[in-house]
Symmetry: C2
Subunit: 173 residues, 2 copies
């Protein structure tokens, strides 16, 4: 996927998307890996801002595939881990590396983030992490109240039977 | 984005992806909307399985844009809301609508989910929901311990100063 595919996925172009593009590209180059068709890579993202859409596109670590782990730390930091080699790399974005003349011009800023020297805006370190578990498929059971299918690990065992979380919350309310 | 773009984003083809494709397509048709370039649409997803990748591609409600809200209920249910019209639609997938002859053949199953009659596998209802807030940009402050930039709302105020969550957890450990 090239940058135009990433912009098409995100829906628009913005500096935040460029940050994710740069961070994810740096991580993949350091790990010497290609996009994950399945769960070959895992990404731990420390924010849920625009850049994560670029990471999803580039690494193949996507919300729906179970190999995108979100930690709500508010930091422009990704850790990308290769299951194949057991290697992880942590990349950190440093906005103070954007030169003053690019700071207040959205387009110049984005351009610098996309194409400026990596060392100016990104620090990178290899890290050891416990390998995250792969996603597991579970069977579904119908909620005893609303009748809708529910993954078995999300059912609540109540006097009304096995029910889904929204029905359980409605009983409690 | 057509189905091949969705498969490219997800990384592979699978019945779960087809479920999300069908659900998201049904929701968008009911709302009569096009893909969200920004936050025109919001999706509330009640699972984080494969299908959500199709929803991200089709609706433009993506993890990085703040208009994808995850509720961990383990249900194949999406609610898609249009900020423009104030209308929401809730779509539910019913796997028991897949005919017996397609159940055990992965390819036939996927084919039916993608192209079978909508009424057999999806129920749809218009719903009223409180309009979710739009994503907000916050400034960053450097953590007093590790020095990394942190979104101000995620800082912890400690004896060591304003620090990030991982540093706060390390102090507590």
């Amino acid at each position: 996927m090239d940058y135009s595919d990433i912009v098409a996925f995100h829906g628009h172009q913005c500096p935040g998307l460029a940050i994710g593009y740069r961070l994810a590209s740096a991580a993949m180059a350091a790990l010497n890996v290609t996009r994950a068709g399945d769960e070959e890579l895992v990404a731990i993202v420390e924010n849920d801002a625009c850049g994560v859409d670029a990471l999803q596109c580039l690494t193949g670590c996507t919300f729906g595939k179970g190999n995108l782990i979100f930690r709500d730390y508010g930091k422009q930091v990704y850790t990308v881990y290769s299951r194949k080699t057991g290697t992880g790399v942590r990349v950190v974005y440093h906005d103070d590396g954007v030169p003053p003349e690019c700071r207040d011009d959205r387009q110049k800023r984005e351009e610098f983030i996309r194409n400026g020297p990596q060392d100016a805006i990104i620090s990178l370190s290899f890290v050891e992490i416990d390998e995250p578990e792969t996603a597991r498929k579970r069977k579904s059971v119908n909620c005893a109240i609303c009748g809708e299918p529910v993954m078995e690990t999300r059912l609540r065992d109540t006097d009304a039977g096995l029910i889904c979380i929204p029905c359980a919350e409605q009983i409690r309310a």
